[in-house]
């Protein structure tokens, strides 16, 4: 095998990216959230088609119409989102795409052997092949996913954050497995956010930034610091509104969280949020930020710890309780298409939905009041729409996001929780959103803002809580908030974190 080179110019996610993979090597791909790594491997695995560029396998141009075609060519991919079928057994899953057959029926014994062999190769021989996937823990499922990929006898194995859900014991096993596979001559592509893993495993590294592959080098030639620099290298410098005079730090907190926890996914989180303050949530994707916001909004059940609003302990039993006058909380959810909007409904219906209680009397909607309120918000946020009766689905992504925010503004919320609100929207709208955040804070709202874009955290926030593994790892204030501090804390470079014990780490 000569190796794969792949080059194509896209619009957003990936621009002119190139990657060369050789057999018998482990190739680490690094980059910030949304740097284009996932898009790249989706193309290699046949899930999405590239707009431009080509892919060469053994020197021959190839293109894959479906995941099955990529499999046939010897490329197996382990995705972050699992492709296992929950109601089937481990063995059934491992053999799903091509079960061994005898007399036209599935040969269960052969399948069992195949599964055991694959599990052994994946270092997971302690998983029972007859166990149902839905009964396994996330870590074990991930191991099954790896075994399933290996059962296809791939020449190229792609692991997209394959270790992020693994327990420490499984991670150690996987290291051994990957090294053995390398010695067997497989080409491995390894995507991870954990620097020490890369140091331990990788032979080569490629750094992605803004959809470009910015540098390829042999492992060990660059220090952690140099790699972080490469990952930062940003192109546009968004103009952020200047921060208004800081809130006096002795003001009474509007929202206070004490020792918040939830089923092991959130651990002992405490912080205070004052009126007029913007607090950012940093850290890598999936470290509990989303759960924290949902927990505050009353969506999560069986949380521990205390939440106080205006110094009074509150039990928030759900979104309808969170938006009551004495709490006045709003959540701008993560996925505007499934959680924020009713896409087939009109702009008006969407905008007024959260505030219907205040726009109606005895359950009957006051239409003139509704129209006025909707028009006010449309003007305020400069929503570009062809009238308020348009379907929300017909608006652009940025304008849809404005609707999600607008519907909560209509409630005049005191506490605003934002879950990565600028993901996938254009730069211009982003700017408007930053301004809006500041205006809200200036008007006395308290804002908790999770973003996967470190620039935003640097530009918008008064304080940033960096989360790792469901806990707040460190708090950065004012001038401490730099991109480098955010990344190195998020990557947890330096000491491994002790679970449940938040510690103050300084920037590397």
């Amino acid at each position: 095998m000569q190796g794969v080179s792949k080059r194509y110019g896209g619009v957003h996610a990936l621009r002119d990216a190139a990657l060369v993979i050789e057999p018998g090597r482990i190739h680490a791909v690094l980059g910030e959230n949304g740097a284009g790594k996932s898009t790249l491997i989706k193309i290699m695995a046949g899930v999405v088609a590239p707009d431009e560029g080509r892919m060469l396998l053994d020197g021959q141009p190839v293109s894959f119409a479906s995941p099955a075609a990529a499999n046939a060519a010897g490329i197996a991919c382990i995705f972050q989102e699992l492709s296992l079928i929950p109601d089937l057994s481990v063995a059934d899953n491992i053999a799903i795409s091509n079960p061994p057959r005898r007399f036209g029926l599935i040969d269960r014994r052969a399948q069992r052997r195949m599964a055991e062999e694959a599990l052994a190769r994946a270092g997971a021989d302690n998983i029972h092949p007859m166990a149902l996937v839905k009964d396994l823990s996330l870590s074990r499922r991930q191991m099954v996913e790896i075994a399933k990929a290996l059962a296809r006898k791939p020449r190229i194995l792609i692991l997209d954050e394959a270790t992020s859900a693994l327990t420490a014991a499984d991670v150690t096993r996987i290291y051994g497995v990957l090294k053995r596979l390398r010695s067997e001559g497989l080409a491995l592509v390894y995507i991870s956010h954990r620097m020490h893993e890369i140091v331990e495993l990788a032979d080569e590294c490629t750094v992605f930034c803004n959809g470009r592959s910015v540098a390829s080098f042999a492992a060990g030639v660059k220090t952690d610091n140099e790699i972080v620099e490469l990952m930062i290298g940003r192109e546009y410098n968004a103009a952020f509104p200047s921060r208004v005079a800081r809130v006096a730090s002795n003001a009474a907190p509007l929202l206070e969280v004490r020792h918040l926890g939830w089923t092991g996914r959130l651990n002992d989180i405490s912080f205070q949020l004052r009126a007029g303050e913007v607090i950012g949530l940093g850290g890598l994707d999936g470290q509990g930020q989303r759960e924290l916001l949902l927990a505050l909004f009353g969506v999560l059940h069986a949380t521990t710890g205390e939440v106080l609003v205006d110094g009074r302990p509150m039990t928030i039993s759900g979104p309808h309780a969170a938006k009551r006058k004495n709490i006045g909380m709003a959540l701008i959810p993560e996925d505007r298409k499934t959680e924020g909007l009713m896409l087939p409904m009109s702009v008006r219906d969407n905008l007024s939905f959260a505030a219907l209680g205040t726009l109606s009397r005895w359950g009957i909607i006051d239409r003139p009041a509704e129209r006025d309120a909707v028009e006010r918000i449309v003007r305020l946020l400069a929503v570009r729409t062809d009238g308020t009766e348009m379907q929300a689905a017909s608006l652009s992504g940025g304008n849809q996001q404005k609707l999600v925010i607008g519907k909560w503004l209509m409630m005049a919320p005191r506490i605003v929780l934002l879950n990565d609100p600028t993901r996938g929207i254009d730069v211009g709208t982003k700017q408007e959103m930053y301004l809006l955040l500041r205006e809200l804070a200036g008007a006395g709202a308290a804002i908790l803002f999770y973003s996967t874009d470190y620039d935003e955290l640097v530009g918008c926030c008064d304080r940033v809580l960096v989360m790792y593994d469901g806990a707040v790892k460190c708090e950065l204030t004012g001038a401490e908030i730099t991109e480098r501090a955010l990344i190195s804390n998020a990557l947890n470079i330096g000491a491994e974190i002790v679970k449940g014990h938040a510690m103050q780490a300084t920037a590397t």
């Binding site: 929950p86 089937l88 795409s97 999560l300």
Partner: protein, 327 residues
């Protein structure tokens, strides 16, 4: 490997629970029956139970793909009416007649499948509409109840085997062995489970989604026509009875639920549904045994159904993220 046992138990939990519940109820029924469990009592009970069990099997195949077949009872009625014309005369003609009926059932199932897969209509609406069509055809075949059936074949299948075992049970076993077990172990059967459990994951794994659905609907039609044949053997006539059709459709869903098959698809087995059906029948008979007025029978069945359905909600207690409730 050790522990195979416990994993096997886990995988077939729904089926085994249904089996245990049925055995329990049937024991109570048999030991309290005034006439004792003689061969005639058993045969009558078995015939009624097997008929519903076959319809429930048909329903299971579709439900496993996370669909629903509201025309299953009408296909049965259609097969019944057709059989009352064709399954007569010499052994050869009878055989041909049986094949014709089976073919007709498969075609009905295939039509449902094609509309659902390629017309992209929801199974529930599709099968409501096709059910009306199938019933119309049945009515065209038998405007008034009547017709005949090869009596020797009918008696053989609804009577007793040597030793007093009801022949219908043998038929049911044969169906399980010929249709269900091979299907369950074939790649296409596996694909049906995968589609029902998670269509996205199935796609990512390269499972033939359309073929799996088509085969499930067609086989379901085939089994429904077997039920129609069996109905003919019991009644000796063909009758286009709308009440029969809709009752059996509804009871088949009840049997599927009682048999531990998930209505969301992907989990459960036709064997579970069979025990669910037998259980549903036994519930009715139990009251008779205990001299409760037969009037209370439908209410009792309804309440048991409500209770069984509610048991599925125990899983809600484990949900920690309320968003999980809203798929």
């Amino acid at each position: 490997m050790s522990g195979d046992w416990s994993y096997g138990l886990r995988e077939h939990k729904g089926t085994l629970l249904a089996f245990a519940a049925f055995v329990m109820m049937f024991t109570i029924y048999a030991t309290n029956h005034p006439a004792g469990l003689n061969a005639n009592v058993a045969t009558t009970a078995a015939n009624k139970g097997v008929l519903l069990a076959i319809v429930a099997m048909a329903q299971t195949l579709v439900v496993l793909t996370s669909g629903i077949d509201l025309s299953v009872g009408m296909v049965m009625v259609l097969a019944n009416c057709l059989a009352s014309w064709t399954v007569v005369g010499s052994p050869l003609m009878t055989t041909l007649g049986v094949l014709e009926v089976l073919l007709a059932g498969s075609v009905c199932g295939a039509i449902n499948g094609l509309i659902v897969i390629y017309g992209r209509l929801q199974p529930i609406v599709t099968t409501i509409a096709t059910g009306s069509v199938f019933y119309g055809v049945a009515l065209a075949l038998r405007r008034v109840p009547g017709g005949d059936v090869n009596a020797s074949l009918a008696d053989a299948l609804t009577g007793q085997l040597p030793g007093g075992v009801p022949a219908s049970l043998a038929l049911l076993l044969a169906l399980v062995a010929i249709v269900w077990l091979p299907y369950r172990r074939s790649a296409i059967g596996r694909a049906a489970y995968a589609v029902g459990s998670s269509e996205v994951a199935a796609y990512m794994s390269g499972v033939p989604i359309r073929r799996a659905k088509f085969v499930a609907y067609t086989l379901s039609g085939l089994l429904a026509s077997v039920a129609g044949l069996f109905l003919t053997f019991i009644t000796y006539t063909g009758e286009a009875s709308a009440a029969n059709g809709s009752t059996y459709t509804l009871y088949s869903i009840a049997a599927v639920v009682l048999g531990g098959v998930s209505l969301f698809g992907g989990s459960g087995s036709a064997i579970g549904a069979i025990f669910g059906a037998l259980m549903f029948r036994t519930i009715g008979d139990l009251l008779f045994v205990f001299n409760v007025e037969p009037l209370w029978q439908p209410l009792f069945q309804g309440v048991v159904l409500v209770a069984a359905v509610c048991m599925g909600s125990v899983r809600l207690l484990r949900i920690r993220n309320r968003l999980d409730l809203y798929g």
